[in-house]
């Protein structure tokens, strides 16, 4: 299922536009959304998960137009979202948390146990199903979040900074989990960690100045540095290309 933005505009009250005619199509598979702080990544994700209303342009989840109530309502059943910061409640076990999430995403109560089992297996947490969430490590909590977003088997999964704040070992585990999720769904990962994108994503989009300044594959982005004079000798080719791209957007009048 594709996520399609056509001429998408968005601005908060009395402030400049955060998104300015953004046009982008996110295809099935794992796609990375990169961009500097304040570029509008979180705003774009909030629009995609219907937390914010679409006011200008079009935004579609598959065929569902998010500017209509019906479209929003139908799209919500197709979406899974792991926010950058989320909490778990100590009253529930891991399995109860995921089952509860499956229910709030629209599954029938009787299906939630089995859905939780499947989701926990997919993030390799089935062994901790009966643990209280307060006893989990940061990486385990992150995977519980992913399992909660997966429990209703969404066709579009949005992850906002999924490895932020994790130590290297936990980050690795989360990456391993996420890597397997794009086989049969559209996964969009917003991150400022180029390393995450490099390891997980088959395609990337770079958001800067309210627009997608680049969309394509790594080789296509890396190819940009060949024609960029004065590019730094430090960092990977991808990082150098990305930095130059952002700098170029910043130099615009």
């Amino acid at each position: 299922m594709r996520v399609t933005a056509e001429g998408l505009d968005f601005g908060y009250r009395n402030r400049r536009k955060v998104l300015d005619g953004l046009t982008w199509t996110v295809e099935p598979g794992v796609t990375g959304l990169l961009g500097p702080n304040g570029a509008g990544k979180t705003t774009l994700l909030s629009l995609i998960v219907t937390l914010l209303p679409v006011r200008g342009g079009r935004l579609l989840i598959g065929e569902h137009d998010l500017s209509t109530g019906t479209g929003r309502s139908r799209a919500r059943h197709e979406l899974g979202f792991v926010p950058q910061r989320f909490s778990l409640t100590g009253e529930l076990t891991v399995a109860e948390t995921v089952a509860y999430a499956a229910w709030t995403h629209g599954l029938d109560r009787r299906e939630c146990g089995e859905a939780a089992r499947r989701a926990l297996e997919s993030v390799d947490l089935a062994g901790l199903a009966d643990r209280r969430t307060r006893t989990l490590s940061g990486g385990q909590r992150q995977r519980v979040g992913i399992a909660a977003a997966l429990a209703h088997d969404p066709r579009v999964l949005i992850l906002d900074e999924p490895t932020a704040g994790l130590d290297p070992g936990q980050r690795l585990r989360v990456r391993e989990v996420v890597a397997g999720l794009g086989a049969d769904r559209t996964v969009l990962i917003s991150t400022h960690l180029i390393e995450d994108v490099a390891h997980l994503c088959t395609r990337i989009g770079v958001l800067a100045g309210g627009r997608i300044e680049f969309q394509g594959t790594f080789p296509e982005l890396e190819a940009l540095i060949d024609d960029v004079p004065g590019a730094s000798a430090y960092g990977s080719g991808f990082e150098r290309a990305y930095d130059r791209l952002i700098a170029r957007v910043g130099e615009r009048p």
């Binding site: 998960v49 219907t50 937390l51 914010l52 209303p53 309502s73 919500r76 059943h77 979406l79 979202f81 792991v82 926010p83 910061r85 989320f86 909490s87 778990l88 409640t89 009253e91 529930l92 076990t93 399995a95 109860e96 948390t97 089952a99 509860y100 999430a101 229910w103 709030t104 995403h105 629209g106 109560r109 009787r110 939630c112 146990g113 089995e114 939780a116 089992r117 926990l120 297996e121 390799d124 947490l125 089935a126 062994g127 901790l128 199903a129 009966d130 643990r131 385990q140 519980v144 979040g145 909660a148 977003a149 690795l172 585990r173 990456r175 391993e176 989990v177 890597a179 490099a198 390891h199």
Partner: protein
């Protein structure tokens, strides 16, 4: 491709049990009785509600003259504190399970905008209200065994709707505040709501109970009951709607929602502009009568079991006074009254109205009322109700003491062998009867001094 991708993940099964694939199913509670709340979140408050209700009604199980009208009112009265617990539980459920930071409580999730709050409150209300009704069962059984009167459905419906509405109000506190602070706020708010009728009658239309509980022969005013029922329905609707509105994204006011909120505010003001009558007389049912020594005793058929005792206790008092003209023509059960005038002017028609009510103590109330009928009111003495024979007592107070002594002595005649107390304690019944016959007019004018009593040493 990163070499990290090829690294096999270390299974968390090493930290779990060996039966990892079945553990999710084995422990997960998806019973419709609790879902989606953790069972302790409803079982604990429901248990408290049950205990509170049983404790509060236990003493009434042995009461005399229980009737269905009284029980109908008690459904609201006894709910006063249990509903505070239910509201606190609802606030806790909302505060713990609808915080927007929770991974399963994001406002865009399809069920959050309606199903989640409705399911939460359904489970909390279902458990707490059921516990409350179960707690009322023993009292209901006690009333059923006496079987007087008929249930009054309007106050019962109003009380149960109020229970649900105030629990919803607690849930709204939890949704609005999204933190544990919501629990004491909800408890305080609902406690205040249930206590308002104790402050002023006008609040009765907005609360669970009357300032007093009507019993057989009376009933809660129908306009008041219907108004209260309507108010609680409105409150429940507005609270549910507002909870849903707070949880939904994006938030949009709807005309029906605004109308419901405005209607609740308006409905809360109206009773202060137009006072409802609290109770009305409803003497449904026939009377059962007996006659002794010229006095006719009548009670409501629902109080037929009390009639013999009333006669047994009142007749000796009238007999001890001696003058048959002084005794009332009738002693009537208040449950037979048809209006205030009839009761207020009872003396003029020779009728002593006695209130037979649930929990009454006929051994105390009948002799006192009967003696009170025979002895003039202390106000005639001009002592402002004060009676005494001590050194500092005024002459009016000393004369009032004679009337008080006489009333006490007469009331004690219901219990053969009782020596009585006060200035008439040592007197022989025949001697007192003769003395009353000679001094009836002076007694009526409160002119008798304690020193005049012939049996005083």
């Amino acid at each position: 491709m990163s070499p990290l991708r090829n690294r096999a993940p270390r299974s968390e099964a090493a930290q779990g049990t060996s039966s990892r694939n079945t553990s999710v199913r084995s422990r997960l509670t998806t019973s419709p009785l609790f879902w989606p709340l953790p069972p302790p979140l409803v079982l604990v408050p429901a248990g408290i509600v049950l205990l509170m209700t049983l404790t509060a009604t236990w003493g009434q199980l042995s009461w005399r003259a229980l009737d269905w009208v009284y029980l109908s009112g008690q459904v609201g009265v006894q709910a006063r504190l249990p509903v505070v617990v239910a509201a606190g539980a609802a606030a806790l459920a909302a505060a713990r399970l609808t915080r927007p930071s929770l991974v399963f409580a994001q406002s865009w999730q399809p069920r959050l905008g309606r199903d989640v709050p409705l399911r939460h409150v359904t489970v909390v209300i279902g458990w707490c209200l059921s516990a409350y009704l179960v707690g009322l069962l023993p009292l209901t059984a006690a009333v059923a065994s006496q079987g007087a009167g008929t249930p009054n459905p309007v106050p019962v419906l109003g009380a149960l709707t109020g229970f649900a509405a105030l629990t919803l109000l607690g849930y709204l506190c939890g949704v609005a505040l999204r933190g544990l602070i919501a629990v004491p706020v909800a408890i305080g708010l609902v406690f205040v709501c249930t206590s308002l009728p104790l402050v002023a009658d006008a609040w009765t239309a907005l609360s669970l109970q009357l300032p007093f509980t009507p019993s057989l022969g009376m009933r809660e005013s129908v306009p008041l009951g219907l108004y209260r029922l309507g108010f609680f329905l409105l409150l429940a609707t507005a609270a549910a709607w507002t909870s849903v509105w707070l949880l939904r994204a994006p938030r949009r006011w709807s005309a029906p929602h605004v109308t419901a909120v405005v209607a609740v505010a308006t409905a809360a003001v109206l009773p202060h502009l137009h006072a409802f009558p609290l109770v009305t007389y409803a003497p449904v049912g026939s009377e059962v009568c007996a006659e002794r020594e010229g006095v006719r005793y009548c009670v409501h058929e629902g109080h037929a079991d009390e009639l013999a005792l009333i006669v047994e206790l009142a007749a000796p008092v009238f007999a001890a006074y001696g003058s048959s003209e002084a005794a009332p023509a009738q002693v009537r059960d208040h449950s037979l009254a048809t209006g205030d005038d009839e009761v207020l002017h009872g003396t003029g028609h020779g009728v002593l109205w006695t209130r037979v009510h649930p929990g009454w103590d006929p051994y105390q109330e009948v002799p006192q009322a009967s003696a009170g009928w025979l002895v003039p009111d202390l106000l005639v003495c001009g002592s402002e109700g004060v009676a005494g024979t001590g050194g500092e007592a005024t002459p009016q107070e000393r004369r009032a003491a004679v009337l008080v002594g006489l009333q006490t002595w007469l009331a004690s005649r219901s219990f053969p062998g009782s020596p009585g107390a006060g200035p008439f304690a040592e007197a022989a019944p025949d001697e007192v009867r003769d003395w009353i016959g000679r001094n009836e007019d002076r007694l009526a004018r409160c002119e008798v001094e304690p020193e005049e009593l012939p049996w005083r040493p």
